[in-house]
Amino acid sequence: MLWVALHLPCLSLESFAATLVVGDAAAAAGQPIALVDEHRISAANAAAQAEGVKPGLKRATALALASRITLGQADATRDAEALLPVAHAALAFTPNVSLPPGSDGAAAHTVLLEVQASLRYFGGIDRLLERLLHAVRPLGHELRIAVAATAAGAAVLVRVEPPPRCPSLEATRAALASAPIWLIGPGREHWEALQGMGLRQVGDLLGLPRAGLARRFGEAMLAEIDAAFGRRPDPREAIVPARLFESRLELFARADSTEQVLYGASVLLARLVTWLSAQHSFVRRFRLLMHHETRWQQGDRTPQATSLEIALAEPSRDSAHLLVLLRERLAQVQLPAPTLELALQAEDIVKRAAPNTELFPTKQSENEGLTRLIERLQARLGADQVQCLGAVADHRPERASGLSRADAGARPQRAARSKGRRDASTASAPQEIEATAASARPVWLQPVSEPLQERRSRPLLDGRPLNLLSGPERIEAGWWDAGLAERDYFIAETADGALVWIYRARLPLSASGANESGWFLHGRFG
């Protein structure tokens, strides 16, 4: 059995700093933050300690030393919610991930992994630890790692400075023997007594009679030491990730700008990505809820929460891509009130194997890249602005082409179908298209036909007469709906040599005013 312990020494500070939603990392590091517990400082970050604020000072002293300091309360629920993504990230490496029970100071903020069975797959303990650190890095926590042969031993050794790596039981016992006693959880309250007796390290306790130790300091301490030394079985229950993902981030101050909301959303998205990697699945749809501050005014219809739903064409686990989509959608939403709390829910999960990463672009990666490009364009411009052209069976030229919204997810199937069409068409010999005026259609069609003036029975475009070259082509269609078209189409040449497609409406125009010539410009040959 090989246990790895991940300890987060500053978890409370970091989870509190995440609620401040300061996006700029440099500004966040320079801001002094401290946590207060019953009017005394319990933790302070590096910037606060540089100004002289240390744990144990009174609140008023801290405010006097550092006037810019932000003080917050430690919240165990918030810390547990911030520790869970680390456990989820570890679940991608082994199913035996456990959180030590009890939230007392000794074993808090530690994640234990049993990795003996995963060593061969990941290529050794060093490679595994490297990949574990890489997976946890996006969460932005400070980490300490220790490796030991027992779970309790690893939990103790991770708090030793520096955390040792003892793969074998003998090395674990040797390292534990020189560990300070106050790291053992249940014996903390007796630490002064033990120090008075001259017992500072765990190894000092080993030589003493067990019955006496149990009577004076309690059975729990002895049980803990036995478990750490591997003399007592210590089964740990593995955590199971929740079936549905829901994570909340309560902001310290109200967020007025999109950047702050986006930073908070990026924290939640990092948690979502670790939860997905624990499940070996991908997300297809997720929702961001922004809870606004309530207003107690009469008749104020400000909604309590704004919900933003992002649906992906291709299930994805890439936090950068999800953040880009969220950013584009958020830029178009007008928030009615400042945001107090953010919540992220993942609604549609797909279990799949991860795609193989390739060095050279292949057809599949190109299709995925195109799907993402279309998703990005639709997220920013609007889903209806990215369109596919299609031919419609209608003789009226203005209705013969239809634009429909492009479906990013259907790209691979469409590409395969069009490849089949192309192969079939190139199999037959390419024939020369004999230009028949009957089938000539211009590439550019005016959305609304432009009426033309007439002089000496010749239509004018921009004041210059057009030269009719070919025609007429009669199109009569649309008697079944309101768009009746009875037209004679001609191809004409303008004075500078461009070809245009004009028609003469056969029916007398009802109420068009002065321009009764009946000539219209419908398209240009591009």
Binding site: G369, I433, W444, R524
Partner: protein
């Protein structure tokens, strides 16, 4: 080692063999084989040293292979023998509908036939599916992006084009840029085009012909009669092209109609010449 100029090779002194001193007359009489031959180094042309080098009077070459335009006369005048890849090609038009789609159709259709995506950004008018199918396009695979639907005209059109160029997965791009575009914006698009493995065409108004541009190729198009296009190469990697090119586009008119148009043109020009009659 220095390159020895050709003119001096013959006047090099003969090498004296060690241990022997011979008077000059016998040196000349010595058989030629005793004299070591200095290898004649011919001058290497710079274009053979590196594909990106070219002299002022030559047409440059593109770093990669170029996309064939489909018109032999145009291929001969473009560096690399076609539209450049990984760079923008600028086309200046007086108005839409001079024959630009028929000019670009062969290269775009070949990109579609190779299975890649062709994207069109902000076409100036509605596209006709029937006309595009006649030119050989696979209409359902064409993606049309409208970027100016929002009331506030912003940088959306340039953003969308930049995203498509930077992604590197798009086969060919055809874009109509907003008028009076700033030079630095075009330069940014040109930098984004370095990631784009294919042809990228941007259409602009003809009035910017006098302004500098960051794209390596600039053509001005004008209608040259029925089914003909007059093309001037304003900027290319090579010597400027003085005479405009006349290209025959894929025809939409029948041959009879085209002949009629040409005779009409001649008659019109003949009439104009007849007005300058000297009555003196």
């Amino acid at each position: 080692m220095d390159l020895v100029p050709l003119s001096l090779v013959d006047s090099l002194p003969a090498v004296q063999l060690p241990g022997e001193w011979l008077p000059e007359a016998s040196v000349r009489a010595r058989p030629q084989t005793a004299r070591p031959v200095v290898a004649k180094k011919e001058r290497r042309a710079p274009e053979t040293l590196h594909p990106a080098l070219w002299l002022g009077h030559q047409i440059g070459r593109t770093a990669g292979d170029a996309v064939a335009t489909g018109f032999a006369a145009l291929d001969a005048e473009l560096p690399g023998g076609g539209w450049p890849r990984r760079a923008l090609s600028e086309l200046l038009l007086p108005h839409a509908g001079v024959g630009e789609i028929r000019l670009l159709a062969p290269s775009l259709v070949s990109a579609q036939r190779a299975g890649r995506l062709v994207m069109v950004f902000d076409p100036p008018a509605a596209l006709s599916a029937a006309a595009l199918e006649r030119l050989g396009f696979d209409v359902e695979e064409l993606l049309v992006v409208h970027t100016r639907a929002r009331v506030v005209p912003g940088s959306d059109s340039l953003w969308a084009l930049e995203q498509a160029l930077k992604s590197g997965h798009v086969g060919a791009v055809l874009a109509w840029l907003p008028p009076r575009l700033r030079t630095d914006r075009l330069r940014r698009l040109q930098l984004a085009a370095h990631n784009h493995d294919g042809a990228a065409f941007v259409m602009r108004e003809a009035s910017v012909a006098g302004r500098p541009t960051a794209s390596p190729l600039r053509l001005a198009l004008q209608p040259g009669g029925a089914d003909r296009l007059q093309l001037r190469v304003l900027k290319r990697r090579g010597p400027p092209l003085e005479a405009p090119l006349q290209l025959a586009l894929p025809p939409v008119l029948s041959s009879a109609a085209r002949r009629r148009s040409e005779s009409d043109r001649e008659r019109a020009s003949a009439w104009q010449a007849a007005t300058f009659v000297n009555f003196a």
